[in-house]
Every structure is written in C-alpha cells, then in structure tokens.
C-alpha cells in the first residue's frame, strides 16, 4: 500500500494521531462576499470592503458554501445541526479584521466517522465552516519571518470558504493516517465539494502527534505538525515526530505542547509557536451573521443527492473477487467501477475484469469500451480462446475504436492456438535445435533459464505472438521430463 515500508515504532510504544484537515470549498465566490474564490490572480484584485473588514461592511454567508459544508458533513456520517458563526480574535496581518470568522461551540457537523479501506474506523469530532486568511510574504532577511525587514500582504485568499474536518485521536499507524487523508480526498472529489489538491493547498493537513506505552489509554502531550503538503510528507512527519517524542521520554524528558513546522527537504520538524500560554482567542458569536438552522427537509434533500461514496463502491466488489484491495481502490478511484461491476454481472470473471482494467485500461477515456464488449473479451480470455497478450491487444483496440471483441480478434488473426498445434511446433523446434534442447534438459539452472527463453522466443516468433506463454512453458516442462 505504501511505497516504502513503514518503520515500526520501537517496541512498547504506540502512536496516537488526530488529523485536522482544512478543505477549500469549490464555490464561485468567497464565504461572506461576492469576490471571486480565486487567489492565483494578481494580488489584491479579488478584494472588497468585506474581505478587509472596512467599517460599515457587512458579511452575508454564501448559500453554496453552506450547502457544500452540509454535504461533506453528511458524507462523513455527521449529524448536521443548527450552527452559529463566531469571531476568533487574533492580531496578525493576514486578517485585516483582526479576527477570523469561524464556528466555535456550535459547528455545522459533529460526530461522524470515516471508514478506511481495511475496515478501520476513524471518528470525526466535527466539521465546521470558516474563512481562510490572506497570504503574507516576508521581505528581507532571506525571507525568514524573524529577520524580515517588512511583510507584504495579499488578501485574495482572505474570506475563501473552508471546512475544517477534525478527526478524533483514533489513528494508530502511519498507514492509517495516510489512508485517512486519501479517503477524505476521495470523498471530497466524489461529493464535488473541493478539488482537494494537497500540493496546491486546497487540502491542508495538520497532524496532532503523540505517543504512549502500548496498553495505556492515556493521551500524552501532543505536538501539532503543520506545513505538510503531500501524503508522503504526512507519513514522514508523523514518523519523525513520534521518534522524537520517544527519544525525549527515553532520556527522561518530555515534549512540550507546541506547533511545529515540517521541513520536507530537511526531513525534520522545527519548533514554531509554543502553546504554553493557552490560546486566548476570546471567541464570541458573530453579531453580523444570524444562525444557520437547516430543516430536516434540507438535510434529507442533501442525503438524497449524495453520490455512492468510495468506501461503498469498493465494498460492492469485496464479496465477488480475490484481487487486492489496492486493485479495487485503483479501479474505483479512476471511476471505472461501474463498468467493471456491469461486466462482472454480465458473467465475466471478477478477478480478471478488475486486473485487466487496472493494468490495461489506465487511460483517460474508456467510453468506447462497452459492458458487453468487455464481458465478452474477458470470457474469451478465461475460456483460453485468447492469450493474455492477445487480450491486451483486443482491449486496446476496443478502447480506441470500440466494436465487438470477437470481430477484432478475427481481424487481428488471433485464432485460438490449439495446444496440440503447439505440441507439434515444439517437437519441430526440439528436432531442429538438439544442442539447445540438451542444454535445456541437462544444463544448470542458468542454462535452463536461457534455453527456456530461447525456445519460447522461437515459438512466439513462429506464432506471431499468439501462443499462450504459460502453455508453452507447460509443454516444454512436460517434454523435458520425458
């Protein structure tokens, strides 16, 4: 599932991770004003009095953002409930208003869960609506915050609608942390709530990491790791942080509760703001915005339009096949699961359908491949009428031109090669190449392998690739044993 094997924690330690994911909603406009939700434009071009909190400006919440937030909440199995916006007060130039409008004690969605591919469940504590902040650039001092001569601020991103999804600290392995993020991304894409591009910042993951002795249920001091911009970084950052904590405990010290920044190039995290003096944001209810109170009908309407989510789509295959979970996940991720399912229902072998799609239909447009065509092709392969190589060639043509696999096979000259025909061919080759045959039957392992390649190559050449490689190997083996 992962490209590199996950390093296990030293014996006796267990990982405790909770993830906070900020998701940018795919609305046309910002959360509280009609400025474009678009911050790659020239700086400060999508900004109005609401964005920078000029006196007298009044926010009005974007109906689409509220709908997206509720849709995501329901997709995560949350209770969608009455909510109010709140002001989180802080002084930093990325928010000209000196507060961020967010939700505090009454968020839109609470108490959901997310099921991972292997059946593990991670609780969702809450998913709340909030606005994004502007972007600061530090000038002078090599761009480092503390040495900067001054800072420049672009408010195009200020007021962009976000949902922050907060998991419970239920994650116990790095693989699960990665799987959680990729599952959440799949849900965001399926519900069309966000384009969920981690590298571009439309999905931002912060990890709360702590460790504890195995068997304990305590929650020890955690550190919040920010600046993680890929799923791979997430794994590295969690591993680094967990080992750092274990080292500290091992030398009789303890981690401090703090925010740390992941440095991908350096492969380490560096301390940021300390959380020792407890955050005091003096939250209060936003007086300029009235409460949101979705009716049962509104929530029911959202439920009715939710797509079948990736977990459910994967589950449709589970009882029908024995291929790996990764194969199923790939087919679902590419949106080829309906085609696969229909072909299986039309009688084609489930495992073959899924592996052929995974390996030989990794293309953007497969619309010419009909359910009947795919099912017929896989059935021909299963019946031994086509070799693996031939099946791939027919599938490639089906995808590029459409049509009937039987007709394509005939057109390509793929007549089924009877195995007694192969037998005759092998006998002929053995007679023509006695020295090679001798090395095949009585040589060492290296010779044997080389000669197997030699004979197989000759047979493939003679049959223009139509022979079934496995059948050839079987015949060679049988003849060698005498």
């Amino acid at each position: 599932m992962t490209e590199t094997a996950e390093k296990a924690l030293p014996d006796g330690w267990e990982l405790v991770v909770g993830l906070e994911v900020h998701v940018e909603l795919a609305t046309v406009t910002k959360l509280f004003c009609g400025c474009a939700n678009e911050f790659t434009s020239d700086p400060n071009t999508n900004v109005c009095p609401v964005c920078v909190g000029l006196p007298g400006s009044l926010p009005v919440i974007n109906a689409a953002a509220v709908e997206f937030a509720m849709r995501l909440g329901r997709a995560l199995g949350c209770e969608v409930r009455p909510s109010v916006m709140a002001r989180k007060n802080y002084f930093y130039p990325d928010m000209a208003k000196d507060y961020q409008t967010t939700q505090y004690d009454q968020p839109t969605s609470i108490d959901g869960e997310l099921m991972l591919g292997d059946g593990a469940v991670v609780g969702i504590e809450r998913a709340h609506i909030e606005e994004d902040a502007g972007k600061t650039t530090h000038i002078g001092g090599g761009g480092r915050i503390n040495d900067a001569e001054y800072s420049l601020v672009d408010y195009n991103r200020a007021g962009v609608p976000l949902v922050e999804v907060v998991s419970r600290p239920d994650i116990r392995t790095i693989d699960h942390a990665k799987a959680y993020v990729s599952e959440l991304r799949d849900i965001l894409l399926a519900t069309e709530v966000s384009d969920a591009k981690m590298e571009e910042g439309s999905m931002r993951v912060d990890a709360n990491v702590s460790v504890r002795p195995v068997g304990s249920d305590e929650l020890r001091t955690r550190c919040e790791i920010k600046n993680i911009n890929s799923i791979r970084s997430l794994g590295r950052a969690i591993e680094y942080e967990a080992l750092r904590h274990i080292d500290l405990y091992g030398s009789g010290e303890a981690p401090r509760q703090e925010t740390r920044h992941w440095d991908e190039a350096g492969g380490r995290s560096t301390p940021g703001r300390s959380k020792e003096d407890a955050d005091d944001y003096r939250y209060f209810q936003e007086p300029d915005l009235v409460p949101l109170r979705p009716s049962a009908d509104v929530v029911a309407a959202i439920d009715a339009t939710l797509p079948v989510l990736p977990a459910a789509r994967r589950a449709r295959f589970a009882a029908r096949c024995t291929v790996s979970a990764a194969t199923i996940a790939t087919v679902v991720e590419r949106g080829q699961d309906n085609l696969a399912l229909a072909a299986i229902e039309a009688g084609a072998d489930a495992d073959k359908v899924l592996t052929r799609i995974e390996n030989d239909l990794a293309i953007d447009d497969w619309s010419l491949v009909s359910v009947e065509g795919l099912a017929a092709l896989i059935s021909m392969e299963t019946a031994g009428e086509l070799t693996a190589t031939q099946t791939k060639q027919v599938l490639a043509q089906l995808a590029s031109q459409g049509g009937d696999p039987k007709a394509i096979a005939t057109e390509l000259g793929f007549e089924a090669m009877e195995s007694d025909e192969l037998d005759v061919l092998v006998d002929q080759l053995v007679a023509d190449n006695p020295a090679e045959w001798d090395r095949f039957t009585s040589g060492d392992d290296g010779d044997r392998k080389k000669m197997q390649g030699f004979f197989t190559g000759r047979i493939m050449a003679a049959t223009r690739g139509q022979a079934d490689g496995r059948a050839v190997a079987e015949i060679l083996g049988r003849k060698a044993r005498g």
């Binding site: 474009a36 900004v47 001054y150 420049l152």
Partner: protein, 100 residues
C-alpha cells in the same frame, strides 16, 4: 467590587487587545467593566426559565446570498486606504513570529 473583575483581568484583556493603558486608565476601566458585569448580574437575576436561549437579537435564521460574483474593489482604490503599499500588496511592519 474586587471579586467581579480585578486589575489583573483588565491588564490581561488589554494585552490581548493590544491596548496600552496608563495606571489611571486601568483603575478607571476596572471600575467601569465592573459596572457592566454588575448590570449583567442584574439581568441574570431575572427568571428566564421559559425563554429559549438565542444566538441573535434578530428573529432570523438562514440568511444567505446566492453564489454569484460581484465586482471587487479597484486595487488602486483599495491600496490607497493603506498607510503603505508595494507591488500590488499591502506593506506592513516586519511580522514578529508566525500566525497565532
């Protein structure tokens, strides 16, 4: 008096709000904020058991706007509101530390 709000509370809140207060102001605001809290306490003594809690004085919920573009401010006009601007950006004094 002193139990409703202390001088230390006022100093703390002033620090959070980035307000610099003189000793005399701290005394005066301790007194005034105390009066405000006294008033809240008076209200608290009313029996409101039958009244549901409200988040807002207006009898309104679900006030939203359609997701439609409205023209933004002209950047020249926007940046003219700021003491300093540079290169299409607001220019601010060096930021100490990171975003809270």
């Amino acid at each position: 008096m002193s139990e409703r709000i202390t001088r230390d509370d006022v100093v703390h809140v002033a620090r959070l709000a980035r307000l610099q207060l003189s000793e005399a102001e701290i005394d005066r605001f301790t007194e005034q904020l105390g009066d405000v809290l006294d008033h809240a306490e008076d209200v608290e003594s009313l029996d409101v058991g039958d009244i549901p809690p409200t988040a807002h004085p207006l009898p309104l919920v679900n006030v939203t706007r359609p997701d439609e573009l409205v023209e933004s401010l002209d950047r020249f006009e926007l940046l003219a509101q700021a003491p300093f601007a540079e290169d299409g950006h607001f220019r601010v004094p060096p930021v100490l530390g990171e975003q809270p």
